[in-house]
Symmetry: C2
Subunit: 162 residues, 2 copies
Amino acid sequence: MIEWRFGIIARMKDAIQDLYPEATAQCYGCGRLNEHGLQIKSYVEGDEYVCVFRPKPYHTAIEGFVYGGLIASLIDCHSTGSAASAIAQDRGETLPVRTVTASLHVDYLAPTPIDGELIVRARAIEVKGRKAVIESSLFAGGQETARGRVVAVAVPDDFGLK
Amino acid sequence: MIEWRFGIIARMKDAIQDLYPEATAQCYGCGRLNEHGLQIKSYVEGDEYVCVFRPKPYHTAIEGFVYGGLIASLIDCHSTGSAASAIAQDRGETLPVRTVTASLHVDYLAPTPIDGELIVRARAIEVKGRKAVIESSLFAGGQETARGRVVAVAVPDDFGLK
C-alpha cells in the first residue's frame, strides 16, 4: 500500500518529540530531557516529516565526512518520530504514539559532507495497526547521500510508558 | 558463498581499529584519535570478530534500555572493522584495509538492557574483491537482542587515506 498521508498534527509548531510524555523523552537520540543526547527533532511538513540536524565537528567518519552511525541514528529517531505521528493519525489521535524500531536499513549512497546542515525527509509508506513503515532520504547540500527504511511499532499500552 | 574465516591478525592483541593509520583513526564510532567518540574496539577471536562495549547511563532509549542508534553504531563500526580484517586476510595483507559502509541493516529482536556489557559477535560471510558482507549478533546478559548485516567496501587506494 502506497499512500501519502497528511499528518493531523501538521498545524502544530512543536516537534513531534516535544509532544512525547516525560517517561519517553529520555532517548539519547531524540529525547528533549536527555541533556547529553542529539536532541533530534521531527516536524510535519505537508505530507512529509522533516528533520534538520547540524553535526558537530567530532561527528566525523573520515576527515570532512559524517560518521555513518550518526546518519543511522538520525534516520532511526526521525523515522520513529514520523511513525509516532502517522500511527496517531491512523487512529484519529492528536498526540504522537510512542514507537520503537523493529528494523532499520540504511543505504549509504555517497560520503556525507560534515560542514553543513543535514536534512532528512521521510514518508509513511504503510500504516497498519501498531506498525508503520517509514522511508526516508538524507540530503547534504541538496545531494541525497543516504536512504533509510524503518519498520516502527507502537509501544503496547501496558508497557508502562503512558 | 558461506565461509567462516580465520583472521590472519588473530595473533595480534591490538584491536583492529588501533591498527588503522592516523588518517583514518578519527571516526566518532571507532577512531582511537577521536576523544569525543565511542572508541569501539574489535578483536579477532578464532573465526569471529568480537566487540565488547559498556554503554553510558545516558545512552538510553526508554528508561533501562539502550538507544537503538548506539546499537546501530556498534554494529556499523564493528562490522567495518571486521571487514577491514577479512579483506586484508583475503588479500594476504597483515594490516587491516580501511573500509566504509555501503549498507547497514539491524533487526531489533528485544529491548537491550543498559546496565551491563554488550557483546557483538560478527563473522565475514562473504569476501569478494573490495566488498565484504558481515553478519553479527549483539548480546546483553547472554541474550541476543539485535542482529546486524553490513556490506562494507574497501576505500580505494586513491582516496588519499593511505
